[in-house]
Symmetry: C2
Subunit: 325 residues, 2 copies
């Protein structure tokens, strides 16, 4: 099942690491990162050899109150530019735009006027045509694009196949396999990756992986995908992300053998910025309520509510989840 050229000793030059600490981590602290944190992360990622850094969402300012969130929920081009200048580096800049939650026509400028390189479009499986409209708009404006099909662990095979065919006929560059609920086991991720790759290879597209750590499988699922031939890999520093978080970039870069990758800058960033962030009360990592929504393949909204109420009665919570299975 190993894709050609994938071994534990050598490396696959097509692999790209995408740091989404600000975006997935922003879900933990409503995107209130200090500029110092963001700048330090930007420079750490460059030195670590990270290929893309995602700054956050391009969320609609009509749908979301700009006063209730930090600026990285909206990712104004000028805010990114204040961190990266003209970004004269090998690392590319990405933002995520959710179908139905952004004003892409207005808020996404032409690439030639923007520091952003890649627009990542997130969609549910029932809004693929809307995603394709966004993909084509972004392509026309000059961007690279990826598409993340969310919540596929709730979708059936026929729908996934249809979605892949539709998307592969668009101008999108990379299609992401997303384990939204952290419910998938490596074996399942492996066969999904295989299916994604079959269609993608037919159309000359690439496949990416975005994993969640509810069952402590984010890294395992990421490397299972790598073995199959998936090449865009999402990670966040120390796994920062909602609930149990994501695939930690320091583990992923410790695994990848391409000499361009280097974990030292990430270690320095963790000691200087992640430890203080945790000490300031920002919480993420392995946690029972998120484990339980993962095991049951459910959206983590109930776990979020459980945490908000500072409940600790895990057993009752599990019984409630089973009631609503």
């Amino acid at each position: 099942m190993r894709a050609e050229g994938r071994t534990l000793m050598s490396y696959a030059p097509d692999i790209k690491v995408l740091d989404c600490t600000l975006r997935d981590g922003g879900l933990v602290n409503d995107f209130f990162f200090t500029d110092e944190f963001v700048k330090a992360l930007y420079h750490a990622n460059i030195r670590a050899g990270v290929d893309y850094m995602e700054f956050g969402y391009k969320a609609s300012k009509e749908l979301f109150d700009v006063n209730k969130f930090g600026k990285w929920k909206f990712c104004n081009d000028k805010d990114i530019r204040e961190i990266v200048g003209d970004n004269k580096t090998d690392m590319k800049i990405s933002v995520m735009a959710d179908v139905g939650r952004c004003d892409f026509k207005k808020d996404i400028l032409n690439k030639k006027d923007s520091p952003i390189d890649l627009i990542r479009i997130a969609t549910y499986i029932n809004t693929i045509p809307a995603a394709i409209e966004m993909i084509e708009d972004c392509t026309k404006k000059g961007y690279e694009t990826t598409v993340n099909i969310m919540a596929i662990s709730k979708s059936n095979e026929e729908d996934i196949n249809a979605a892949l065919e539709l998307l592969c006929k668009s101008s999108v560059g990379t299609i992401y396999l997303v384990d939204s609920y952290g419910s998938l086991y490596p074996e399942q991720v492996g066969s999904l990756a295989q299916r994604y790759l079959e269609v993608a290879n037919k159309y000359g597209k690439r496949v990416g992986i975005h994993a969640h750590n509810n069952q402590q499988l984010a890294f395992a699922n990421t490397i299972e995908s790598v073995i199959r031939g998936v090449c865009y890999l999402d990670a966040t520093v120390s796994g920062m992300g909602r609930g149990c978080g994501n695939c930690p970039s320091e583990i992923l870069l410790g695994f990848l053998k391409n000499p361009k990758y280097n974990i030292n800058p990430l270690l320095q960033f963790i000691e200087n910025h992640i430890i203080p962030l945790r000490e300031s009360g920002v919480v993420w990592g392995y946690d029972i309520p998120y484990l339980l929504t993962g095991i049951l393949n459910q959206h983590p909204k109930t776990a979020i509510q459980f945490e908000k109420e500072q409940r600790k009665d895990y057993n009752n919570f599990y019984l409630e989840l089973l009631d609503n299975f």
Copy 2:
């Protein structure tokens, strides 16, 4: 590579779950568990369907000062009996005995006089004959036995094969694949499991897995082993164990499909006993220094020292580890 009868939907009746919370967790708090904790864990494990509960080590009282450790480092039969009585349950009791660190002839009584069912013998690859002497002594006394070959990630293939052949010719029941340093990736665990199983099947022995979580792979490596046909699975509640800890039993039991397993009692135990234990200052879980010794396939002693000195300079620590690679 899937062993016959292993699917994600059904279950393999030969699978046994062994809870080693007291033993591996004891490395975190020098085995100072309250009787209340131990009793609650015992009852939670029974209700959860756990097959074996390990109470700790049978360590030599001549080599180790009984005043410096809690009683579960020594596991006197009478101390176990105070918790379990005659253990008239379906769950069996185990203890671990390290080659060269126990007085097995004196301290391990005849099975008929003991509440213990299973003696687990831990050995390095260079002390296999001493391990076999212990195995035969324990078999003669009437116990089930397993053997854990430690630190195999530092051993070569030829030595591992020779060790497996020697051990399989002994009276031991189960041979454990142990990822002592948390350095192994699922693919490596998969091929090692395959090798262990080949020899074990030839001699009618079983294979077990004991994983560590340095790279957040303990659960992933455990299920990779299950797929191959490994059937004795070690786990600890909330992954309690030195450094990054072990495979969490609540995740493992959430995965296993045998209806005898039930995570509710473990969830109750976590809310009533693990949360207070953590709040009392006992620390384990994903942590950068242990990640780094895992990535570099090294004994965690340097990470233990780093933590003891309350250092946080991860980057310097990594450079030191590379110096001593």
